[in-house]
Symmetry: C2
Subunit: 333 residues, 2 copies
Amino acid sequence: MPTIYQVAERAGVSLSTVSRVLNGKASVNKVLKERVDKAVKELNYRPNSVARSLANSRTDSIGVLVPELNAPFFGDLMQAVESTLRAADKHVIISVGQNCVETEKDAVEFLISRNCDALIMHAEALSDEYLLELNQSKLPVALVNRQVEGLPEACTSLDNEKGGYLATRHLLELGHKDIAYISGPKDKSDASLRLQGHKRALSEAGLPVDPQLIFNGDYSEEDGKVGLLELMARDIPFTALVCANDWMASGALSCARDLGMSLPQDLSIVGFDDVVFAHHVFPRLTTVSNPIAEMAEMSAKYILNKVYGQANEVQHYFEPSLVVRESTVKHEG
Amino acid sequence: MPTIYQVAERAGVSLSTVSRVLNGKASVNKVLKERVDKAVKELNYRPNSVARSLANSRTDSIGVLVPELNAPFFGDLMQAVESTLRAADKHVIISVGQNCVETEKDAVEFLISRNCDALIMHAEALSDEYLLELNQSKLPVALVNRQVEGLPEACTSLDNEKGGYLATRHLLELGHKDIAYISGPKDKSDASLRLQGHKRALSEAGLPVDPQLIFNGDYSEEDGKVGLLELMARDIPFTALVCANDWMASGALSCARDLGMSLPQDLSIVGFDDVVFAHHVFPRLTTVSNPIAEMAEMSAKYILNKVYGQANEVQHYFEPSLVVRESTVKHEG
DNA sequence: CTGTTAGCGCATTCAT
DNA sequence: ATGAATGCGCTAACAG
């Protein structure tokens, strides 16, 4: 590995001149510049990024925290972040939080110890206070798909209430009146907002909100199944079901099929997120789109602005929209 | 940010003593060690990993190349690599190759410029020659799910031929005799090996290999659909279909349903890889399991051995196995 | 067992 | 516009 020193020697100039042409910040005599370029080529010189980082205390690396690596939702997120950042010659160090406070803290510590220039996180378990504190520690932070009081510009978020509203509204328009709901964990704001939207749609239609038609799930596929069984056991009839995410919808879907129901005639089901397998399930899932890739891209651009002086436009709030497929059908009756 | 120097000062020892207790390599007087530990705590000192890297020319980071970030198959791969490496306090820099030679080369260049200690790659487009050359450049390389002549110990791979054999064998045992096959790109060795296994199963059963019953796909969902339509257009009856991966199987599945066929009665379908959505599709997909997570883990352990002096056992060859679900059924007739 | 010294490769003052 | 000198924070001989 040639060093900048050897390049200087071969080009017959000083260290600093080479550095200058490499970074293009200061102006350099054209002749010298050419000699340097030539030497660089001949030696196949590549700057040592570690040394560079030590000298200017920038690593050009951004830490990314996601709950898991093998879920389509977070795959979309990472894809968007990586490509946006890579276009700016930054790179991504990915770390996994596993939905657990301790692991998430560890992961953040890990990323910090790696001297990341900034953090982009989809933090599930970390508290708002922790995030605020982190942000004040002069390490820029971007929060994807989350809203933290006091950090408006660092967050991108979705109007989850509207999403919940759209899902239920769709079913109402199809003539359903008895609509069950499988919620996400109520301590998560997105879950409670989605539920809130559901209730608003019901109210607007002049329908009561029956707590017996609501099941509290944990966003897992398994809980889609458990939830459906539990709801049916309560013996209050319903012709449609909203699930707070696609995983639970998928669980409910296959459970319903296993129960011998014919879908969507016997039960209309709506999901949330529009993850990639939403059109793999049968019947293809009607769901609410979640523009996670765009939110992730905006987070990356926000960091690019904040840390590297770029000037991208960044959007912080996003609207969900309904994606109608085949798992919902008009209620005859 | 406190430096090692300030820790030394506060503990009343020298720089090197601090370094020694931090790295635990050499032995240090117990009393001094305690003073150092105390100072570290009090100052909340965290070693600067960049400086450390510059001094010992190790970044403790491993470059990972995958074709895409938002596919379940590669999600499993990354998950396994990340957790294995993280347990050893190494970290992962992920880069995307997009199935394209140029992009893959760029990605590799990028990772090299980042001073990765090693590379773990699922390289799709890069040639064997390129990989051999890379490996000789003293940068250790591990190839996941690929076999390169001349680099036996760097590779983990699956017995794809056997996988193809198992898929077709299963259908034969169910009484099917007319079995169509949608292959992956024939320039990829896994695809051609899977097809080869299919043919062997046919031959062993004394059945002819009809080229008219084979369609060349590109592993995409779309080609599952296109392939099925094309095969049906050829007007040679078949009662079962093997697809060289789950994506194509999924495409074929939903295409068949759209055509009004009732599954699995009208057509038995087998996939390959057992990706996460294999049990989301309807009917749940019978497929061949691909232990990608284990292969990835082994690649990580291989690197841990090779670069960081660990001594894990590493397995290089893996056997696929059949996962029977509901998309295949006995052929009556 | 401990402290002193010298780089690792580069960016950046500061002079010129 | 250019070169010489200094330091980023740490590890690793080396000497004691």
